[in-house]
């Protein structure tokens, strides 16, 4: 091979690797991105069916129920405007508490229950997952707008 052909061979090889990588990245991003939705969005049906996503908010006080197997739990996640019932089988993280923020990954079942595959314990210093805090802030903001509208109507 002449040096020129050789250089082309190397450049070609590099392009192939980058191309394969891009293809892998695109494919993986397409199927593995999970979007975050607030309980209000879930209740309003603005969420993808049959695709996993995340929800976040506060665990409603007194909503935590445990089945007799000791592992299956039911609780309700709320952003103060709307609530979503959640089912999870497994051990809850240490930081999971009623009245505290949580984030769950899973799918929406046909009966409107969110079936969680994972309940996350990530949090900042204030023990509130940022996604959960944001969901509640959003609900609060839109809630105020709604009450304004109600005042305007006789």
């Amino acid at each position: 091979m002449t040096p020129r052909q050789k250089r082309f061979a190397f450049v070609g090889l590099g392009l192939v690797v980058v191309g394969v990588a891009t293809w892998l990245v695109m494919g993986a991003l397409k199927s593995n991105l999970s979007l975050f939705h607030t309980p209000t969005e879930v209740a309003n049906g603005e969420v993808p069916k049959g695709r996993p996503f995340r929800i976040g908010g506060m665990v409603e006080d007194g909503s935590l129920k445990r089945e007799s197997d000791g592992l299956t739990v039911h609780f309700v996640v709320t952003d103060t405007a709307k609530s979503v019932p959640v089912t999870y089988k497994g051990i809850l993280p240490d930081l999971f508490k009623e009245g505290k923020g949580t984030v769950a990954q899973g799918q929406l079942g046909s009966d409107g229950t969110f079936v969680a595959s994972e309940v996350l314990a990530k949090h900042d210093e204030n023990y509130m997952p940022p996604e959960a805090a944001e969901a509640m802030a959003k609900a609060k903001a839109s809630g105020e707008q709604r009450s304004d509208a109600m005042v305007a109507q006789p």
Partner: protein, 663 residues
Amino acid sequence: MIPEIGHYALILALCVALVQGILPIYGAAVGNSSLMSVAAPAARSLFFLVLIAFGCLAYAFAEKDFSVLYVAATSNSQLPLHYRLAAIWGAHEGSLLLWTFILTIWMFAVTLFSSHLPETMRSRILGVMGLVSVGFLLFMLSVSNPFERLIPAAAEGRDLNPLLQDPGMVLHPPMLYMGYVGFSVAFAFALAALLGGNLDAAWARWSRPWTTVAWCFLTVGIALGSWWAYYELGWGGWWFWDPVENASFMPWLAGTALIHSLAVTDKRGGFKVWTVLLAIMAFSLSLLGTFLVRSGVLTSVHAFATDPKRGMFILAFLAVVIGGSLVLYAWRAPRVGLGGGFATVSREGLLLANNVLLVTAAASVLLGTLYPLFMDALDLGKISVGPPYFDSVFAPLITPALFLMGIGPLAQWKKASLPDLGKRLRWAFGVSIVTALVLPIVLGEWTPLLSLGILLAVWIFATAVVSVRERIAHGDGGSVVARLAGVPRAYWGMLLAHCGIAVFVVGVTMVKGFETEKDVRMNVGETATIGDYTFRFDGVRDVMGPNYVAAQGAFHVSRDGREAAVLHPEKRRYTATNQIMTEAAIDTGLVRDLYVSLGEPLDDGAWSVRLYHKPFVDWIWGGCLIMALGGVLAVSDRRYRLSWRREPQTVPVGAQLAGRQMA
């Protein structure tokens, strides 16, 4: 008073760093020897000043001085002394101080082991490192001062996050930072070469040991972090592709590429421009990693933006360092030259392929880590990129690199022949294929991934054996022992590090393929079985720790009726923060770990419990240790010692530094 001394020392350090960053580089440019000679004394005084600051902060923690905001925020009077000292790097401000301190340690080491370098080179290296420390000192003094006072003083501190109250966490950040910051030496070498416009094999030989030592520290640091996550987070995972982990993994990938590229520059004078770019990349990713983890941008882009001063400083600093060095690169790199030519199939060619794959893998990790941040920052929705993304992108990119790893050491420089390589490697290949097909069936389960993992691991081992055999067959000297002794240590180091990878691959493959996990409700006296092991739950009792209370469970594990282990997992409540923590109990073995963690208390003394049987899991971290040992062995090679021959010491810096750290 003491914190003010620390603060003052930092201010003085900034002044010294400015002098160190400006005068020697200018002196090197105009050929003024007296200006250049400022570099070494300045670097040493910088080290002592930052040491004083670090000591002052340590003193404040030891004395429980809650009038210092940082101390009050990250420690507590009940916290034992060793954790109070570890709390120095428990949060943002102290971590920056540790970073700067370690940077000055590396600088000090450079002044000790660089007398053989040309004066211009040496002053440029120290000058660049001085400029980097200017950035960090300025950052600390302007927006994240660890010595900031809290007036009136707090009566009690807020406590260190219980997750961090652990021996692994005490060691993990310093090791990691030794690695991150160690790449600043390679970075400084690269910039010095660009400034001087000369980059030869001698340059590569000088910067190789530094880079390798930094890489060893980083490897151990990452392994420690992973091990910590495994036993301390309580849920048995060892790598989560969490942004915090990725932040340390990206510089490792770039650094690994750099080590290999440096080998070509050293031995063949090739890849020069690419080596320089990789050095810049490795250090830039280290900086990015530090800031990603420490700035709070990961927890929330918006929280990060609420403290705009810090965020702006970080972005500006990254822009100056990365942008500046890339501009310098674009301007000066053409003068450095490309180096010798080589054929597609040659050791250079294989190393180039390794480099392209490693860098592409690093880029894919970078994309997955930063993508959610960008989406969030642009208000395009909150998304998360989960482990499946990384698994499905990273594994296919790294698999060919692992395969080529077996061939590279056996290929000739400049030009190798494929048929010849095929002939030399056919036995290794045959053995790997057969083992990969048969072993999973013997173990009771065959999956393509399992087979692939075993294939790669056996392939790396087998090619290493072939490589040693050839060395013996073609070596000089009479007896086999003499021939073995004739093989340079650098070569043994490389083989050892590669075998470390193979050990690591075995660990990952076996854990992924054969681990068993069970979440179960257990009454007192009840048993549960996973694999061949039966766990009997004997109830919990209360125990008191220095700053926590705990429920401690007792589990008797038996196999074929014989007792295998007694495990005591705990559920702790830390009194200062009222935080609950799961403390898993692990019985470690060469070929398996037994792992129990307590879930939640249920009625009648029953608990929900998580049980794991994890075959070969310790090989994951063992492999990392072997890799690091390989690096240390390589650095102790004679060829580097020769380049230090004008030194009074005969032990190379790498081994010394490493020895001190490991001790």
